[in-house]
């Protein structure tokens, strides 16, 4: 049984069907990639899983139990933590305080230890607002890990990072999966990163599930290649 299962989930915004009858499963311990062109519905799916949005139909279950009756602030207690596409830190609070808030709903490792592990010990008492972008993203990751999640949802963790930072990120994701005993669902446009770390890749296009398979299978899939070449971001087409 998958740790996370999404079954026939649909969510509309006015006339737009942002997520259209999508089903997918993420097995415990997996790093699963979720890719698709802009507007495919990836972030909406994250927002549905974390209950910021309610699906119009379908079922989402975690560890065999429905998530749909869990209010948003209880999601983290069920063992699901996330990062946001447009970094959502607490800008006026210090790095340490950001991580302490991360353990509000469910504690785990000591915040100091966590900051050390993510290379943030030099900025512990700095306000989040003044940090470099890459540091903000690492802080957001640290905050998510502070709740000792079983499932970590990462929404474009590589966006805006330098080439070296992206390389490090791949290694970091693998490392935290091992040391935190995590399952990861990763939304990313950076194909080298996804194809490098993911065990399995799910593809969305216009809200629909387009394909699923190993990174190699997905890269060969003609429908996936078509979706990416037809989009406005050909630079992100799978190599």
């Amino acid at each position: 049984m998958p740790l996370l299962s999404v079954e026939h989930v649909t969510r509309r915004f006015g006339g737009v069907v942002a997520v259209d009858d999508v089903s997918l499963g993420v097995e415990s311990g997996q790093i699963a990639g979720l890719i698709g062109p802009n507007g495919a519905g990836k972030t909406t799916l994250f927002n549905l899983i974390t209950r910021l949005y309610r699906p119009d139909s379908g079922e989402i279950a975690f560890d065999g139990e429905s998530l749909l009756r869990t209010p948003p602030h209880r999601i983290v207690r069920r063992g699901i933590a996330r990062t946001f596409q447009n970094v959502e830190l607490f800008p006026s609070m210090t790095v340490l305080e950001n991580v302490l808030v991360g353990s509000h709903g469910r504690g785990g490792r000591s915040a100091r230890e966590l900051l050390g592990e993510l290379g943030l010990d030099a900025v512990v008492h700095r306000r989040a607002a003044g940090l470099a972008f890459g540091t903000m993203k690492r802080l957001e990751l640290a905050r998510a890990l502070a709740s000792s999640p079983r499932l970590l949802l990462l929404d474009e963790p590589a966006a805006g990072l330098s080439h070296e930072e992206v390389e490090e990120l791949g290694a970091l994701i693998r490392r935290i999966r091992a040391s935190f005993d995590l399952t990861v669902l990763l939304v990313e446009h950076h194909m080298n990163l996804v194809m490098g770390v993911a065990d399995r890749v799910h593809v969305l296009d216009f809200g629909r599930k387009l394909a699923e398979g190993s990174p190699a299978e997905v890269q060969r899939n003609p429908a996936v290649i078509e979706a990416y070449l037809g989009s406005e971001r050909p630079q992100h087409a799978p190599a």
Partner: protein
């Protein structure tokens, strides 16, 4: 290291504030002491408003009405139920806390201007409510403890004996309000640095991130309204004592609510020390404005101009100036 210095500087500043509060009455006339006591009530209410607006990001234009709840709790318990006025102060805080929770209910759904209007409606309705339930509140006559409970009104009969000293009534009221204010300021200082205060600030900074971190944002908004209501209630309770043990519906007309917001903003939201300056501002600047000219409407215009001037010259309020003055000290050390 710099943190240690900053904490030490904070303690020194707190000690200096306590010392200043202690010695100030020696230089004040009796009438001035009464005015400072009144400012002390505003200080306490504004501390509460600051927790709500400065730290949790929720607007309230209804805090004058929460002060009224505290004030009437004290007046009713002392006048009709045999309580000594001083013992009703914490009770007034608790009753206003309950009212604050209720006032916070709309905050779970509304924000910004809509929340401002919902809370303002409470401020506007309060005097009418007080008149409507005249059996309890004395209607538009209000409640005069001086008549109804003279012996239970501490200091109403003359100087007060505390700790083996004899203290003039207005000095006593001054020490009572500012002493209470300093204790509640220390409590606020501790609160905003702990788990609850972090949750408040998280709600202010990003509601989605707060919710995703496990914070029940609706609950914490209501809690902030409740705690803030406690402060307003204590301030309102003391306001009865400093108003010659008298309260009526006009004591807390809606302009008090606006005045408190002015005090909090001028003081500098998010700065606890600034709140004392904000309280002094709303206590003294309107009467100074009256001294400049008492042509019809002129005092209000001068008071308004003073507010605008502070906001233009000091966008982060008087508290921001305090911070700027002390920052070089703490960073250089």
């Amino acid at each position: 290291m710099s943190r240690v210095v900053r904490i030490a500087a904070g303690l020194v500043a707190a000690a200096a504030a306590v010392a200043l509060v202690l010695v100030l009455p020696h230089w004040l006339s009796d009438a001035r002491a009464a005015e400072f006591a009144r400012a002390g009530c505003f200080f306490i209410a504004i501390l509460g408003l600051n927790l709500l607006t400065g730290y949790t990001g929720q607007i309230s234009l209804g805090h004058g009405a929460l002060m009224a709840v505290g004030a009437y709790t004290t007046a009713i318990l002392t006048a009709n139920h045999g309580f000594r006025d001083l013992w009703t102060i914490p009770l007034a805080g608790l009753v206003a806390m309950g009212a604050g929770f209720l006032l916070g209910l709309p905050a779970r759904r509304l924000s910004g201007l809509y929340l401002a209007l919902a809370t303002f409606a409470f401020a506007v309705a309060m005097p009418a409510l007080l008149k409507r339930f005249s059996g309890l509140t004395g209607g538009s006559q209000g409640i005069n403890l001086f008549d109804k409970a003279l012996t239970r009104s501490t200091g109403a009969l003359g100087p007060v004996h505390v700790l083996g000293r004899t203290v003039a009534t207005n000095d006593f009221l001054y020490y009572l309000t500012w002493g209470t204010g300093l204790v509640l300021a220390a409590a606020a200082w501790v609160l905003v640095r702990g788990r609850v205060g972090r949750a408040f600030r998280a709600v202010r900074d990003s509601e989605v991130a707060a919710a995703s971190s496990g914070i029940n944002t609706g609950f914490y908004k209501m809690l902030a309204f409740g705690i803030s209501g406690f402060y307003a209630g204590v301030g309102g309770s003391l306001f009865v004592l400093v108003s010659n043990w008298f309260v009526s519906p006009t004591t807390f007309a809606f302009d008090k609510s606006l005045l408190l917001v002015v005090g909090a903003v001028v003081g500098g939201l998010g700065s606890l020390a600034g709140m004392a300056l904000g309280a002094l501002f709303i206590q003294f600047v309107p009467s100074w404005a009256g001294n400049v000219s008492n042509a019809p409407g002129a005092p209000s215009v001068f008071f308004g101009a003073a507010i605008v001037l502070v906001m233009i010259l000091l966008p982060s309020g008087l508290g921001g100036v305090l911070r700027k003055l002390t920052e070089p000290l703490t960073t250089r050390l």
